[in-house]
């Protein structure tokens, strides 16, 4: 009764709160008045047809784009639109098109992810005092832990570019986790994976959630999304048309139309888009 999950959810702390985010590119409104909250311990899905503005929304959240209007808060604090400050604050991300440091080793990639959580500067690097050595050793140990967590422990000394595709995606996640985020944004983490790899990615996301990290994930694979997510938001032509659990989303006719590629004239979304 009191341990029922539904009433407990609103009590969890809000991690991400995006309010009325708008992103315009010239005449194109790629993201239109999107509101989204993510709470502690949640896995939230973001779906929508190609070009719906999902990645653009991510870019607005992480400071890669400066939103035309709207506010993004992380744990109550307004985020400055600078990628490195966003990461510093506690949001980490992966990219839809893998963007590893391809000529660095797997371990080095993860160590770069630790950048915000370490502070050795130029002089301590030159002097190499005991404090520096300790911090460096700690970083390495932590990075190796993360590689193990993501199932890459045997590949630490390989070049990132030489990893198979699925492992490159895992490495991107490991690198993002290295910044000790409170919220992880995954942009199509299973794109191009075979079913087996998708299964292990699913497990990885659950494991991340169990670490207490909230996850916001974009994906086209519905099975993956509905297996994983507590809540799913649907973006169509830059607008969030529906948000809710599996049933709500699957039974919404606007979602069905959007995915079947019906022309949008006469539907509610079209009239809203005209405004």
């Amino acid at each position: 009764m009191t341990t029922d999950t539904a009433p407990a959810a609103p009590l969890a702390e809000t991690v991400l709160e995006a309010t009325d985010v708008v992103m315009r590119f010239g005449g194109l409104t790629a993201v239109n008045q999107v509101n989204l909250t993510v709470r502690q311990g949640e896995i939230v899905g973001l779906i929508g047809p190609n070009g719906a503005g999902k990645t653009t929304f991510f870019n607005c959240l992480t400071g890669l784009y400066v939103p035309t209007s709207g506010v993004v808060r992380y744990k109550g604090q307004v985020l400055p639109p600078k990628p490195h400050l966003v990461t510093q604050a506690g949001i980490a991300r992966t990219f839809q098109n893998i963007r590893l440091f391809s000529n660095m080793t797997v371990l080095e990639n993860v160590l770069v992810g630790r950048h915000t959580r370490t502070e050795e500067g130029l002089f301590s690097a030159i002097l190499r005092g005991p404090g520096y050595r300790r911090a460096e050793a700690e970083s390495r140990a932590r990075a190796m832990e993360l590689l193990e967590f993501c199932g890459l422990s045997g590949k630490a000394d390989h070049l990132a570019r030489n990893l198979p595709y699925g492992e490159q995606r895992k490495l991107e996640i490991a690198r993002a986790l290295a910044s000790e985020p409170g919220l992880l944004l995954l942009d199509e983490p299973t794109a191009g994976m075979n079913p087996q790899e998708t299964r292990s990615a699913e497990e990885l996301v659950f494991a991340i959630r169990d670490l207490g990290i909230a996850v916001l994930v974009i994906e086209h694979d519905m099975k993956f999304i509905f297996n994983l997510c507590d809540r799913t938001a649907v973006l169509v032509q830059g607008q969030k048309i529906v948000e809710g659990d599996r049933e709500t989303v699957q039974n919404d006719e606007r979602v069905v139309t959007a995915y079947l590629g019906e022309p949008l004239e006469g539907t509610t979304t079209a009239t809203e888009a005209d405004q």
Partner: protein, 654 residues
């Protein structure tokens, strides 16, 4: 490993170019090499008119030395690749391509010598039997090597060669003759005639380049020489002291080779040296000796560094002439500056086209406080360490001032701004003479007569006795510069492999992703830029004291004399970006080659350009590939898979 050999099996084969019966190929290669080597002990020409005096029987001289070394190397590599016990270490990969390269090197040296003798002394009669033996022996070695099973590509991709290029070459030759004899001048207005008569070389260069390219294409199609990455067999385990001994021996050998190169007294000998050095390096690379050695040096990094510095420090003691020691000191300065530039270009990936200006800032700042009578602060004579510090700090300030506004922007703005800064610096130094501007730098005359360094009573300007040997002025300075080099090497090595160094490389690899990982791109780039400037300033302060004078025209964007910005950049890229030894080696070569090829005069830069093109064609990663690139080779068994590279890449950010 199986996939790697399969990959190569599809595109490569191991076959001889010439089909020779039985072991004839091996015999020919060995015999040819031995003949060429033996000819070094014979007389090549009867008069001592040809530089180096090649008339003696019994002892090699001048150009005979490279012939001797090349011949021996060919014979030994042939036996080693054949699998002769006790020689396998010389060719661990088992590839025969090294034999061909060594033989070609020997051929180049011997035929160059023979042709030079014939041309300079006017006629084949001037050749002694030794010359004939060298020519025939080296040719035999090449024929033999072509009969060995070589690693070759199955197909050769070539850009099509349009026949009308022959026409262009022909017209150029006709014009050369026409302008040379004067009759073609009637076709051009008198005003522009000097343009043609003074640039006759152009009409020679055009056909040479066109025909050279065509010849290369034909040769390439015939030889199809390729490179199969073979996994090296595990090295025989040596005790640690033996490995260290090997490293020491290699560096001693290296010192010998460099010394030979620096102290070549005439152009012909240097060309012979260079030809052999290029081919021998290619031979050792193909044979896997270089890979084996680098395994060894990575295992004993400290010993390697120590041996390298010991070799450089020993150099002035082995020289009797101060000129060559000065060359050595200048090489060190140039190399140190190149290493500083490597922080900016190699690690952080920032294109700095005016780097030499920071060297100039350091040099001028130190010169002004050095107590030179030409300095505006005439009475001010700060101790040397303080002058160096001021030089480095001044460069740091300029680095920050230039970098802070520019590095906020992405793209090529930095290249443009630094290029401008380099020019502005030189022009400003020219004009701050009290007439066209405030009096600071003494204008084009520069600050001369900088007093010699005196550290703790040790006067760097005077010779000192060390036991049996005497160390002259430039020897002292060389050792001083070596200390600065050591500082820069340590700084580079430590920073490259640290949090900040990784951030630089990450920025270079993908700036958007790096920023998404929490790296403040502007901040770390500014640190790289400022550190680079500071290291250049440090070297500049020493340079001012070694040269004893600074003047504006020492700090150009491009010119025939290093260090200038273009040469510095070339040294970094040639040597290998992101490595320590790469820019040092690259700088040494880039300093030595122009200095030694002065007799080519106006063709010098042309020859230099051709050499650069060849190097970039055959070894685009630079002479010394860095650790990460090495990994690439070792991981040949993994199929390289990148992400999908559609244009959506740009969609995800930036």
């Amino acid at each position: 490993m199986t996939t790697s050999s399969q990959k190569f099996a599809a595109s490569h084969e191991t076959t001889p170019v010439l089909r020779l019966p039985g072991t004839a190929a091996l015999a020919a290669a060995v015999a040819g090499g031995v003949l060429a080597a033996a000819s070094a002990a014979m007389s090549w020409t009867w008069t001592d008119q040809f530089p180096g005096d090649l008339t003696y029987y019994g002892s090699p001289a001048g150009l005979q030395w490279p012939a001797l070394v090349g011949g021996l190397l060919t014979a030994l590599l042939a036996l080693a690749a054949h699998g002769l016990k006790g020689l396998r270490w010389l060719s661990p990969s088992g590839s025969h391509n090294g034999v061909l390269f060594a033989a070609l090197g020997t051929l180049a040296v011997c035929w160059y010598s023979v042709i030079a003798i014939t041309v300079q002394l006017d006629g084949l009669v001037n050749l002694d039997p030794g010359g004939w033996v060298a020519a025939v022996g080296s040719l035999l070695a090449v024929v033999g090597a072509l009969g060995l099973p070589l690693d070759r590509r199955r197909t050769v991709k070539q850009t099509p060669f349009a026949p009308w290029w022959y026409l262009v070459a022909g017209v150029a030759v006709v014009l050369r003759v026409g302008f040379g004899q004067g009759w073609a001048l009637n076709a051009v207005p008198p005003g522009v005639r000097p343009l043609f008569t003074e640039n006759l070389w152009f009409f020679v260069a055009v056909p040479v380049v066109i025909l050279g390219f065509r010849l290369w294409q034909l040769l390439d199609a015939w030889l199809r020489i390729g490179r199969i990455e073979r996994p090296l067999p595990a090295a025989r385990a040596l005790p640690s002291w033996a490995e260290i001994l090997v490293i020491t021996a290699v560096f001693a050998l290296g010192l010998g080779v460099v010394e030979f190169g620096i102290s070549t007294e005439y152009g012909e000998l240097f060309i012979g040296f260079l030809l052999l050095a290029v081919f021998a390096t290619a031979a050792l690379l193909a044979g896997g000796t270089v890979a084996r050695l680098s395994e060894l040096t990575t295992r004993h990094r400290a010993v390697t560094t120590g041996a390298a510095f010991a070799a450089a420090g020993a150099f002035p003691f082995t020289q009797s002439s101060e000129t060559y020691v000065l060359i050595g000191a200048n090489i060190l300065i140039f190399a140190t500056v190149a290493l500083g530039l490597n922080v900016v270009v190699g690690l952080a990936g920032l294109l700095d086209l005016g780097y030499v200006a920071f060297l100039g800032v350091g040099a001028y700042a130190a010169a002004l406080v050095s107590g030179s009578p030409y300095s505006v602060f005439r009475g001010l004579h700060l101790p040397f360490p303080l002058a160096v510090l001021i030089g480095a700090l001044a460069a740091l300030v300029f680095g920050v001032v230039i970098g802070a506004p520019t590095l906020r922007l992405r793209g090529d703005y930095l290249a443009i701004v630094t290029l401008g800064f380099g020019e502005i610096f030189r022009i400003a130094m020219n004009n701050l003479d009290g007439r066209s501007g405030p009096s600071l730098t003494n204008g084009p005359n520069g600050v001369a007569a900088i007093p010699d360094v005196n550290l703790f009573g040790f006067d760097f300007g005077r010779p000192h006795d060390f036991g049996f040997v005497q160390l002259g002025k430039f020897g002292n300075y060389l050792l001083l510069m070596l200390v600065v080099t050591a500082i820069v090497v340590v700084v580079f090595g430590r920073v490259a492999n640290s949090r900040i160094g990784r951030a630089w490389v990450a920025i270079r690899e993908d700036e958007t992703a790096a920023e998404a990982m929490g790296i403040n791109g502007f901040r770390v780039k500014l640190i790289a830029f400022a550190l680079g400037a500071t290291l250049a300033g440090l070297a500049g302060a020493v340079q001012a004291h070694v040269a004893g004078a600074v003047s504006p025209d020492q700090y150009q964007f491009a010119g025939p004399v290093p260090p200038n910005s273009a040469f510095l950049l070339a040294a970094v890229i040639l040597g290998g970006m992101g490595t320590i030894s790469g820019p040092l080696v690259g700088a040494a070569l880039l300093f030595l080659i122009p200095a030694k090829l002065q007799f080519l005069q106006s063709y010098q830069l042309l020859a230099f350009g051709v050499a650069l093109i060849l190097l970039m064609r055959f070894r685009p990663e630079g002479l010394i590939a860095n650790r990460r690139r090495k990994l690439e080779f070792h991981e040949a068994e993994l199929p390289a898979q990148g992400g999908p590279t559609d244009d959506a890449l740009s969609k995800a950010g930036a």
